[in-house]
């Protein structure tokens, strides 16, 4: 791991992570904290109090100009010109064949100024795809990924911890909104977005300012059980919240409709967009598969890549995309692609776990809804 780690990009918070005893791993080309005290403790902290995440690996691509909105509408499946200033939406960039290149968040900072946030592992690809797609518009693209740090504070106590440190009115800041201001004495963009299923905020800031803000937030939240949380907890949190991860639930062989994200694709928007023709055909033909939640009903944990079977059948009909033992629910949960006929909640399936088959039933997503973590012994979903 050491040799490999030397070629990975490092975030401005590396010293903080090491001092906090983090285990660092390679992820999306970056050296990132997997965990500090432990994934389960960090997971519970975010559900019950708050967690602090270094997300500086994420990409930040600015698109500005009088044609920025129209350009993004042609480049993405969503319709960014519909965004009010200060608001954001979840989006995707599709390939001409309708496959997903990446999922992203688009923030509108001004009439002519948008911030696109792709996944770390896809940031270069997204920038390379956006450039030609924007070329016919009055729009300038600036990939600021290397000059931007990102810190997230997530959990029911996040607002109370951050509020005294910022001049941004957090109470007025809506979900999927963004505002410019200061935090811990430095300029930041504060967004009410996240990937945990909890209330929370994401702070975009200059890399050199990141260590100071990180330390101030940790100190300010110490009395309220704020803990640093790594990518391990981020993954279990997003899985419980039924949120897709690129490379697991989303990829070039999957359409947004198959992933259950039909609502993202704005077929009614003005003008063409990359992937429109293919996605219209796909919509007409109907999905080949559907993303579902699974609750395992026997001993075993489903993992990425494990086969899914119809009971009594020899050949697999689907595949697990993500799975873990849910720290909040105390049971094994998974997401999987299955045939449309096997997608209705209540359908009994089996997951191949090593040499055995574990019964699993299709359950509605998400597995976890905000505000229910105080009752970890509640009945299983579905």
């Amino acid at each position: 791991m050491t040799d490999e780690a030397q070629q990975l990009r490092q975030t401005p918070l590396r010293e903080q992570h090491l001092a906090l005893g983090a285990r660092l791993v390679g992820f999306g080309g970056w050296e990132m904290p997997l965990q500090y005290a432990g994934i389960i403790d960090e997971h519970h902290a975010v559900r019950r109090a708050a967690g602090l995440f270094d997300l500086s690996h994420m990409g930040e691509i600015w698109v500005t100009g009088s044609g920025a909105g129209e350009g993004l509408a042609a480049a993405l499946v969503t319709d960014p010109p519909r965004l009010a200033i200060g608001r954001a939406h979840y989006s995707m960039i599709a390939a001409p064949d309708g496959g997903i290149i990446d999922d992203l968040i688009v923030y509108r900072l001004a009439e002519d100024r948008f911030l696109v946030v792709p996944n770390a592992s896809n940031a270069d690809r997204v920038a390379a795809e956006l450039r030609p797609r924007l070329s016919g518009f009055d729009a300038t693209m600036d990939d600021a990924s290397a000059q931007t740090a990102l810190i997230a504070i997530q959990g029911p106590l996040a607002r109370g911890i951050l509020a005294p440190l910022t001049d941004v009115d957090l109470e007025a800041l809506k979900y999927y909104a963004i505002a410019q201001g200061e935090a811990a004495g430095v300029p930041v963009l504060v967004a009410r977005t996240g990937y945990t299923g909890e209330d929370g905020f994401e702070l975009f800031l200059a890399p050199e300012a990141a260590p100071g803000v990180w330390d101030r937030l940790l100190a300010a939240g110490a009395a309220q059980d704020l803990v640093p949380a790594g990518l391990g907890a981020r993954d279990t949190l997003r899985l419980e919240a039924g949120m897709p991860l690129y490379g697991n639930e989303l990829g070039p062989d999957t359409t947004p409709m198959e992933a259950g994200l039909d609502r993202l694709v704005k077929f009614d928007k003005a003008g063409d967009f990359v992937g429109r023709t293919a996605l219209e055909s796909a919509r007409e033909a109907g999905p080949r598969k559907r993303l579902v939640g699974l609750g395992l009903r026997g001993r075993g944990i489903a993992r990425h890549g494990y086969p899914v079977y119809l009971p009594g059948q020899e050949a697999p009909v689907g595949e697990v995309t993500s799975g873990t033992l849910s720290p909040t629910l105390g049971e094994a949960i998974a997401m999987a692609y299955v045939p449309v006929s096997a997608a209705p909640p209540g359908t009994m399936l089996e997951v191949g776990v090593r040499s055995t088959r574990v019964p699993a039933d299709v359950v509605p997503l998400p597995f976890y809804k905000r505000g229910t973590a105080a009752h970890p012994s509640r009945p299983a979903p579905g």
Binding site: R23, L34, Q35, G38, I39, I40, H43, G232, D235, T236, R299, G300, I301, R303, T324, L325, P327, R354
Partner: protein, 127 residues
């Protein structure tokens, strides 16, 4: 990292504690720490056979699943049933309450093929 002197070790991070011709098997503190929070263990039944170098079960943390490899061959005398409900014992007490199997070795001299504590410390960079 705790590497008890009196145990023998495999390259796959299992340990073996011998008492006459019976051995107890578990995974090392290093392995438990690398895995992180352990949430699931799959072990064979008492009375079944253990074959050196082959998988005898699986261990899962929140993040990942790993196979368990038999350090020696023999008959499984007992399985730690406590791990079914409390797999975290492997994190908290890997050489004690986190034990996995008791085995009657086919050939007690087979443990000579395993690493001693000094060699295992070198393996995990703890020497």
């Amino acid at each position: 990292m705790n590497v008890p002197e009196e145990l023998r070790y495999t390259a796959d991070h299992e340990w073996l504690r011998m008492e006459s011709d019976e051995g107890t098997v578990g995974i090392t503190a290093y392995a438990a720490d690398e895995l992180g929070d352990i949430v699931f263990v799959e072990l064979p039944a008492a009375g079944s056979r253990l074959e050196a170098g082959t998988t005898f079960g699986a261990i899962e943390s929140v993040k990942t699943a790993s196979d368990l490899f038999a350090p020696v061959s023999g008959e499984i005398l007992a399985v730690n049933e406590q791990l079914t409900g409390s797999p975290e014992l492997i994190n908290t007490d890997p050489y004690g309450e986190g034990w996995m199997l008791r085995v009657k070795l086919d050939d007690p001299s087979a443990l000579e093929a395993l690493e001693d504590a000094a060699a295992y410390r070198v393996r995990i960079g703890a020497a």
